[in-house]
């Protein structure tokens, strides 16, 4: 029973969550449309996970409005969760059960009729490519298999929305690509995806719309392309191993905005041809030319200092 595209699945207005000493989420507004992948991008401690927990009714809202499926979260949390699947940041599969039992037991928590459960479990095992491991203990699975099982488990109730908190953190690149493929498949089936991540590539690939959060606030929102166009020049030249003096050689006569990042300098520009020509004259400088992306937007908006 997926909602037709264009309807609002989540609506947050001045949404705020404060603990005794600080506000993890500080007056955010956003709208998630049905059938889209909506991303929350931000450094650690930005308020992404707290926002998801409020959407699921797992933590009380301090102030502001939050409606999911048109229902007020503070009064209808269980109904909202009945139509939602959750992939938590840390796997919490049940170690006392096998792979298939994990899915079957989870179906019970959703109150699914017993007669429907075996077919659903088989379908999801196939989706997660775990059919051959159905009787394995979960601790015998690799990290990637556990993640796939967790995603399959989140689909047991055939949810309208799937909430994923850093779905690919800590996985190797092959596994991440497999997971991304599965998530794209879910979107094709019309499910709304809500995703937190700090992988720019993940956000760029999957998200139709995203918000960049920091210190509990939304810094900007839009599609990945819109955000890039709005905040950074289209091209970047990264200069590595270049001392401060090297910049003097070409900055005065080039259309280039310089940002020191780590031990490199990033040169953001509308037109790289002239600078590249200059750089080729300086063999001791390593440089890399690329199109700008979300990472550049992210660094620009959230600053460069380390977060813990």
């Amino acid at each position: 029973m997926n909602k037709p595209a264009g309807e609002e699945v989540v609506e947050a207005r001045k949404l705020t969550k404060c603990f005794q000493d600080r506000c993890a989420v500080d007056g955010v507004d956003f709208t998630v449309t049905a059938g889209k992948c909506f991303g929350f991008l931000g450094p650690n401690g930005a308020g992404k996970t707290t926002t998801l927990r409020m959407i699921l009714g797992l933590t009380p809202v301090t102030s502001g409005e939050l409606n999911v499926f048109g229902l007020d979260v503070s009064r209808h949390a269980a109904e909202i969760r009945a139509r939602t699947g959750v992939v938590p940041q840390t796997d919490n599969l049940d170690p006392d059960f096998s792979v298939a039992e994990n899915l079957a037991m989870y179906a019970r928590y959703y109150g699914l009729p017993a007669a429907q459960i075996p077919a659903r479990v088989d379908g999801l095992l196939a989706f997660a490519e775990l059919t051959g491991r159905r009787d394995a203990r979960t601790d015998a699975l690799s990290g990637g298999m556990q993640r796939r099982l967790t995603i399959a488990r989140a689909l047991i109730n055939d949810p309208d929305m799937v909430v994923l908190d850093e779905p690919t953190t800590g996985l190797d690149p092959q596994v991440r690509h497999v997971i991304w493929g599965r998530l794209a498949e879910l979107k094709d089936r019309g499910k709304t995806l809500l995703l937190t991540t700090h992988y720019m590539e993940e956000a760029e690939r999957l998200c139709d719309e995203l918000v960049i959060m920091d210190h509990g606030r939304i810094l900007d929102q839009g599609s990945p392309r819109e955000l890039v166009a709005r905040h950074v020049e289209p091209e970047v030249i990264e200069l590595r191993g270049a001392g401060d003096d090297i910049l003097n050689r070409f900055t005065p006569n080039a259309q280039c905005r310089i940002e020191p990042i780590g031990t490199s300098f990033y040169c953001y520009t509308q037109d790289s041809a002239e600078i590249l020509a200059q750089l080729r004259e300086v063999p001791e400088v390593n440089f890399m030319h690329r199109s700008s992306g979300l990472e550049d937007v992210f660094l620009r908006l959230t600053g460069k200092e380390l977060r813990d």
């Binding site: 603990f19 019970r108 109150g111």
Partner: protein
């Protein structure tokens, strides 16, 4: 979402109970060894060994006196262990509660399911002791089967406080306080090993506030086949402990997890 609002018990509690019984079935061997082994040793060792010197107690053979009391105390310890070590494991290191609460289940359902499960385990231990007592010729009347629902109620009564301990514990070591300060003293003074009439009078008054005294007051007459005295009072006390325990456990688990 006020943490103090009254809990509602819904059908979801049964799913939580079902989870636990399925896990228990996988570990049936050690579970049954525990259920039968420990009380059998108690009854044989203390009942015959100590009973030889004690002779009769309150007009009963010592083994009959002991068996009819241990059935209550064993329900207490079984429910308490489950409500602490197992519940804490599911709540904290194993993150099972995080997984449960991501579904439509609420803390109310999870704790109700856990308490039902603690009480079910108490019944397993009670049935085991009843069978051992039957073999030892202690059980005198068919009314002894009524011990089964009573033991279930005893399990509910002690599950709540144990889950409260899980909600406030930072690690397993914390449970030592509860055992040393609450469970063990109650075990010793509530009439399991000797009638409380031998205690000094002010002490008897204190003991009558303790749930284990009321538990033993129900199990002993049922097992040995004499008439119950004030059964509704004892049932009411156990039920009150169970309900208040459930409420406080739900509130404290909400405060711990729903932040």
């Amino acid at each position: 979402m006020n943490s103090y609002r009254l809990p509602r018990v819904r059908r979801g509690a049964l799913a939580v109970w079902q989870r636990n019984i399925r896990v228990w079935r996988k570990l049936l061997g050690p579970a049954i060894a525990m259920n039968f082994g420990e009380p059998t040793l108690y009854l044989l060792g203390l009942g015959f060994g100590l009973g030889h010197f004690v002779g009769d107690m309150s007009g009963l053979t010592y083994i009959a006196f002991l068996a009819s009391g241990v059935i209550a105390s064993s329900a207490m310890t079984t429910a308490s262990f489950e409500g602490m070590y197992s519940v804490f494991t599911r709540m904290v290191p194993q993150r099972t509660y995080d997984a449960l609460l991501a579904t439509p289940l609420e803390v109310d359902d999870v704790i109700a399911g856990e308490m039902l499960w603690c009480a079910t385990k108490a019944v397993f231990s009670g049935v085991a002791i009843l069978l051992v007592a039957l073999l030892l010729g202690v059980v005198q009347s068919a009314a002894a089967v009524l011990v089964i629902p009573v033991v279930f109620l005893i399990g509910l009564c002690f599950a709540g406080p144990a889950i409260i301990m899980s909600a406030i514990a930072r690690s397993y070591d914390f449970f030592n306080y509860y055992f040393v300060l609450v469970i063990t003293p109650m075990f010793i003074i509530s009439g399991v090993f000797y009638p409380i009439s031998t205690l000094p009078e002010p002490m008897q008054g204190v003991v009558q506030l303790l749930p284990l005294y009321h538990a033993v007051s129900l199990t002993r007459p049922l097992v040995i086949g004499v008439e119950l005295s004030q059964p509704w009072l004892h049932i009411a006390v156990l039920l009150a402990y169970a309900l208040v325990g459930y409420y406080l456990a739900v509130v404290l688990v909400r405060k711990k997890l729903m932040v």
